[in-house]
């Protein structure tokens, strides 16, 4: 066993690492199916966004209580990784608590910090489970989350509680074993949370204690590796992608829409034919009908969405009962991406499946309801932009399918012929100045 355990551990680690790497590469490839049309300059300001939005969670603090609770889970997640490092080294070398000899009396302080955090994480996970399932919070009870997304959210909270409990059980049995001076269990000093388990555990026979300690150790690390591999299938991918999402989030005023240089040039050449190059290639599509027509930032954002629904809770369309929900726009884009990724995986290249993001995943009615108010972008803790995707799809509707409500067609022809959205004569534009 002494010899075999590290080998099994290494095999597990390698398998988990390999699977994660494979899935991560696939996601990266899928994201890069998007167009690369934007220049991302000003790295200084961008890193500041990462600090403020991703690390600092600035926008979460619009609701300080929830932000604080989320921060505990988030800090716990990051800091507990240091302890996982020790567990990893232990696993690979077959040693037990490899940091202990180096840290001496500081070691118990070190573990106590993790235990306090782990306790905090457990408590917050319980609170979040109650919030999601017992208290009625509109954005969490919404139909957007029906089915898998709701299960996903609960599953991860339960898994975190289980992982933290295993951590406590592992430390508790360890202390019980230390008390009876079992071999291999060097004295560490008492741990603040798990020591509470010791009186009960001490009544168990030595073999059982060792069995529990080892099982908890293995299950804990297997759980962590499983969690790692679960991430890419879950909304919890935001733990990783929130950072690039913050980096690439827009620096310009939110009201500025993305220009379409191809259309700009076409209009320019029509107005001033002398400027037209003889070999001007016509753009093939306008706006986005499917994920291939969006840019990679839009696609990365779909994978970064935490499905928290703050966007939809702020959206004037959603809150007045329209079909549009900006969260659903992000989720639909991700669902379509996953479908395309599967398709490419199975067929080596994309085989037309007679489906598109527009129509099959996002309906015309949804797109028509957006007021471009930017409330969704403002509300999103990761500063994702459902609006960007909505606008690209709207462009496709109008310019590719000529699909507009009759009133809009009238508006268009008024603008074109009378230079105003209403049917007034351009001659009368300055009449207000004369009637004093």
């Amino acid at each position: 066993m002494e010899m075999i355990a590290p080998l099994i551990f290494l095999a597990l680690l390698a398998t988990a690492g390999f699977l994660f790497y494979k899935k991560a590469t696939l996601i990266k490839k899928t994201i890069l199916l998007g167009k690369s049309e934007i220049q991302y300059d000003e790295p200084g300001r961008r890193w500041k966004q990462v600090l403020l939005l991703a690390l600092g969670q600035k926008k979460m603090f619009k609701n300080p209580l929830v932000a604080f609770l989320h921060l505990i889970i988030y800090a716990g997640f990051i800091i507990i990784n240091v302890e996982v490092l020790e567990i990893m080294i232990d696993g690979m070398t077959g040693k037990h608590r490899v940091f202990l000899p180096f840290m001496g009396s500081c070691y118990s302080l070190f573990i106590n910090v993790f235990e306090i955090l782990a306790f905090g994480v457990t408590a917050v996970c319980v609170i979040f489970l109650v919030r999601r399932n017992i208290l009625y919070i509109k954005r969490l009870a919404s139909n957007d989350l029906a089915g898998w997304p709701k299960t996903d959210a609960n599953l991860i909270l339960v898994v975190e509680i289980v992982l933290m409990s295993l951590f406590f059980l592992m430390n508790g049995t360890d202390q019980a074993l230390q008390n009876v001076q079992a071999p291999h269990y060097a004295p560490t000093g008492s741990f603040i949370v798990s020591s509470m388990l010791v009186p009960n555990l001490s009544q168990l026979p030595l073999d059982t204690l060792v069995l529990i300690e080892r099982s908890a150790w293995w299950l804990h690390i297997i759980g962590i590796l499983a969690f790692l591999n679960y991430l890419p299938y879950s909304k919890h991918l935001h733990i990783i992608l929130a950072f690039p999402a913050a980096y690439y989030s827009a620096l310009e005023p939110a009201g500025k829409m993305k220009n379409m240089p191809s259309v700009q040039n076409e209009v320019l050449y029509a107005m001033d034919p002398s400027k037209a190059p003889t070999d001007a290639a016509l753009p093939t599509t306008f706006g986005a009908k499917d994920i291939f027509d969006l840019n990679w930032k839009n696609l990365m954002e779909a994978y970064s969405c935490t499905e928290c629904g703050r966007c939809s809770a702020a959206c004037p369309a959603t809150t007045t009962g329209k079909l549009l929900s900006p969260r659903k726009i992000m989720m639909a884009t991700r669902d379509r991406l996953e479908e395309v990724a599967q398709n490419i995986h199975q067929n080596n290249s994309f085989v037309d499946d007679q489906k598109t993001l527009l129509h099959n995943y996002i309906s015309v009615e949804e797109l028509r309801a957006c007021t471009t108010c930017n409330a969704c972008v403002e509300a999103c803790p990761v500063s994702l932009s459902p609006l960007d995707i909505i606008m690209e799809l709207r462009r496709s509707l109008i310019m590719e399918e000529s699909s507009a409500p009759a009133e809009w067609n009238n508006t268009f022809s008024n603008i074109e012929n009378n230079f105003a959205p209403w049917k007034f004569s351009p001659e009368d534009r300055e009449n207000w100045a004369k009637e004093n």
Binding site: K256, M257, A369, A375, M391, T411
Partner: protein, 259 residues
């Protein structure tokens, strides 16, 4: 009051400091025309040199672009930029947040580079410079006023303070609605919604916003956008509160209070 056009100014060999971009609502909509007139009255009183484009002004293309019609937007932008560049326009003031946003943020990469100022910003700096003098015991003194944030000023361009600062000099009681500033609720007009029927839902956006406005108990809803103004006025009517509350543009409130 005589409002000059750029063409007239050019003919007489002078150039105004500002181009006043009136916008389609400000030019044609009967309610919005009053805002336009109120603002030009202020400009006149303060002695700011400005001119309008008159017949040469055309829709900025904002509703077309946001509906998805980029071709039409680009055509309008091209035409407007040609006209303004030909006059050598440098500074633009406008009473419409949509025109403000489009000219300020979207025209530069199409060749139109101007300093663009929303009227609430200009009013704020005129107040700071002491150029706006109010009547004794102004008409709005002690009244309850609630400011409705326009999306295209607020979230789109981060302008939350200027309108509020302007309102402060009225010596009125300023009350915020439940959702204000960056959390402000849209009036429902943006994104070309103004020009079509709302999609099916449980209520209309302007009615939802009017309910929040009514809940403040304010006598005046201050707006800074002609489209918000229309939407809020309709919403308040729907709540049958039009006799208790008025929807007025900040320019109107100042024009009426000026000495």
């Amino acid at each position: 009051m005589k409002v000059n056009t750029m063409a007239e100014m050019m003919a007489s060999g002078t150039m105004p400091e500002y181009l006043f971009w009136v916008g389609c609502a400000g030019s044609f909509d009967q309610r919005a025309q009053k805002i336009t007139k109120a603002f030009s009255l202020i400009l006149d009183k303060v002695g700011i040199s400005y001119a309008i484009l008159g017949k040469e002004e055309a829709c900025t293309g904002d509703p077309a672009r946001r509906a998805g019609n980029e071709f039409l937007f680009q055509m309008m932008a091209y035409q407007n930029i040609q006209v303004m560049n030909a006059y050598g326009v440098k500074k633009i003031i406008t009473t419409c947040p949509h025109c403000f946003n489009t000219i300020k943020n979207e025209y530069p990469e199409l060749g139109g580079n101007y300093e663009v100022i929303h009227h609430t910003m200009l009013l704020q700096s005129l107040i700071n410079e002491g150029k706006i003098v109010l009547k004794e015991g102004g008409a709005f003194k002690g009244k309850k006023i609630s400011y409705h944030d326009s999306c295209y000023l607020g979230r789109a361009n981060n302008i939350y303070e200027a309108p509020r600062k302007v309102l402060e000099i009225l010596d009125a009681e300023l009350i915020e609605m439940k959702r204000c500033r960056s959390n402000g609720l849209c009036c429902g007009a943006g994104g070309a919604q103004m020009f079509k029927e709302e999609e099916a839902g449980t209520t209309r956006i302007n009615i939802e916003r009017a309910e929040e406005a009514v809940a403040t108990g304010a006598q005046i809803i201050a707006s800074a956008c002609p489209f918000c103004n229309t939407m809020m006025t309709d919403g308040i009517k729907n709540k049958e509160k039009e006799n208790e509350m008025a929807v007025l543009d900040i320019a109107e409130l100042i024009a009426e209070s000026m000495a």
